[in-house]
Amino acid sequence: MRRLLFKAAAVALVLPLAACSTKGGAETNSTGVTDKEITLGVMADLSGPFKSLSTAITQGNELWAKDVNAAGGVCGRQIKLETVDHGYKADTAKTLYPQIEPKVLGFVQLTGSPVMAALGKNIEADKVTTTPASWSSELLNNPYAMIVGTTYDIEMIDGLSYLQEKGMLADGDSVGHIYVDGEYGANGLRGSKYYAEQHKLQLHDVKITSTDTDLTNVVTGLKGQGVKVILLTTTPKQTGSAAAANKALGLNVPILSNNPAFDPALLKSPAASALDKLYIVASTVPFSADIPKAKEIAQKYAAAGYKEPPNAGTPYGYAVGEVWGTVLKKACENKDLTRDGIHKAMQQTTSADTGDLVAALNFGTPGAPATRQVYVAQPDASAPGGTKYVQPLFEAEAAKAYKAPHEGQ
């Protein structure tokens, strides 16, 4: 009886396999494009640690797609976004990728540096042009990475030149750089190291992990080194802690931070009163920037009825869409809406305009950041969006001369 049962089970297991046909193996280059539609992918973190930023970027992407479609689409086709949530988990992203990849022409968003690291090889093999929501110049060794905005290293170089120009820093000074270990921190440090070499600065770098919260001891140490400026490539919470320690210890030196190190929420934290010495360098505008295009997006955001409080991710997401629009149009003119065609069109895009949401972008040089221009802003609780500009778009001489790690390879 038992034997019979097992045999029956065996047959039942194998039978369905024999009954249906195997999967096909067709591979085409024109994936994600039909006569009526262009599908672009969004691999977002809608549930993990970067939920609020990534959700805002996704909403920016959606607003752009809506606007483009209302204006008749690109190349006579409507834009469709295919969104998946990987929750900032590289393993989830790795399984989701083969599911979404055959459906899309390119990725307008790929959030998370561990995710980008895990998918880099696939993206190159499948030739999918991808905009990572991460601004490390190390990513540019992947020819299919289309970074919208400048990179962390250049933010630091531009920022340091700004401080020196304003007399807050002189050649030979001591400078402290606190950075989070990882792609983000290491790239910021690369910039400050370059600038320190050029200007004979004594650079004291301190590595911390992204989960550290109290930087008082680190700032105390830097005080002992007699630093004139503190550089931060950290998380917003850590920025608050460093700024508070800077004030409490009576060090009171200017603090220069990369874009992701500041969050408007800091203005409501206990560290708010210590932020007056903070300078933020960024190549994308905050949500309520005083720019016609940003205002227009803010209006559309309100009209769309999103429940989340807005942040800088939305104008950035919209700007990425605009860049993709430019690239798609170029590919359309070339009559080549394939993945290869998109990549070629990207390299031909030397002056993508986003209405000043991001500096003009040039994707013509492989391995080089698309722009070296940045804004410098300071926190201001009274200003909409929490920051006010102290320096409009500019590009430092030192940044012009700087060679990114994968430039010219």
Binding site: F6, A9, A10, G25, S47, V84, Q99, A117
Partner: protein, 344 residues
């Protein structure tokens, strides 16, 4: 399980790459990685009674060893060995790392050993960041060498068509992982059923009694740590091949962090401590659920808003641990045995 039933199971597993899409294969491979690691832990914690939270660390040791032994990068340390040799070497190095930790197990027992082993995870976090020339550093990581077996590459290279289906990298990796899992399963079964397994259980149940019966407790502990770490090391090699990259963690909750150690412990407990088929089933639950739910949810449009597949599956496996501990300490393995008894 009856020997006969293995045949259809093997046929199904061998045929799956011809039917399933790459994303489902990827999910299946992830479960196999979990299964190999969980078998190692269930031998250590279940058979020999040594609680360990260091599994994530040994995973990192295996992953790094493979990348270094097979690596050919110019600016990093790499020996450029044949990938098969590198795999064997990585497993051996992981086993040695386990032996090196064994003396600690001679000093502390039970939950204290668990806490002591946790220190290794933090050591791994530090070493992964500090030894950038081996691991590639947290900034960029390093790409592992593609696995090759006697000239056959487990990548998209070349064309190999079976039953109208081109076998590309993902499909080929499925077979490699299947072989590694089968080998792991078979070796573990062998160890448990023989003198080695009996000495493990003797040490677990009563060290004094084990000594009286002629079991060398220290050597047995060192041996089981070596075996368990070797399994973790193999899982580590599989994980770099699966990810196509070795990237040391930026904080303690990464690929080789505490969460991973706990996930492996969860697999062993849900499956039933000490049971090898149970460990495999536990891996399917713990590593498989989040993956399968995510894939289904995009297909069906489930889980909108804050209830995400990852969240749901953590609740499911959290609840599974509580239920197992409360109602069925033997885990899935005990449930399986009961079903078998009912039938016969």
């Amino acid at each position: 399980m009856s020997k006969l039933l293995w045949i259809p199971v093997a046929v199904v597993l061998l045929a799956l790459p011809l039917y399933l899409d790459a994303s489902w294969l990827k999910a299946g491979q992830y479960m196999m990685i979990g299964a190999v690691g969980a078998i190692g832990l269930t031998l250590l914690s279940g058979q020999a009674g040594q609680l360990s939270l260091a599994h994530g660390f040994f995973l990192l040791v295996g992953a790094t060893s493979y990348s270094v032994l097979s690596g050919t990068d110019d600016d990093l340390v790499g020996l450029g060995l044949n990938p098969l040799l590198a795999l064997i070497g990585a497993v051996a190095i992981s086993a040695l790392a386990g032996v090196a930790f064994a003396p600690v197990a001679g000093r502390v027992r039970g939950i204290y050993l668990g806490v002591a082993s946790l220190a290794l995870v933090f050591l791994g976090l530090y070493l992964g960041q500090a030894a950038g020339s081996l691991t590639g550093g947290t900034s960029t990581g390093r790409a592992p060498a593609t696995f090759e077996l006697f000239g056959f590459s487990f990548s998209n290279e070349g064309t190999l068509i079976v039953a109208g289906v081109p076998l590309r990298g993902t499909e080929r990796l499925w077979y490699l992982f299947l072989i590694l899992l089968a080998l792991s399963y078979w070796l573990a079964k062998g160890a448990v059923g023989t003198r080695i397994g009996r000495s493990w259980r003797a040490v677990r149940d009563n060290e004094a009694a084990a000594t009286a019966m002629g079991v060398d407790v220290r050597r047995t502990k060192a041996g089981v740590f070596a075996v368990s770490s070797a399994y973790a090391g193999l899982a580590g090699v599989m994980i770099v091949l699966w990810f196509d990259i070795l990237k040391p963690d930026e904080n303690e909750f990464g690929t080789y962090g505490i969460n991973t150690s706990i996930a492996f412990l969860a697999m062993a407990i849900i499956g039933g401590l000490g049971s090898i088929p149970g460990a495999v089933a536990g891996a399917v639950v713990v590593y498989g659920l989040p993956q399968l739910l995510t894939l289904y949810s995009t297909d069906l449009g489930w889980f909108t808003g804050s209830v995400t597949p990852v969240l749901v599956s953590s609740f499911v496996y959290g609840a599974a641990i509580v239920l197992v501990v409360l109602f069925e300490p033997g885990g899935l393995a005990a449930i399986g045995r009961r079903i078998k008894e009912l039938r016969s």
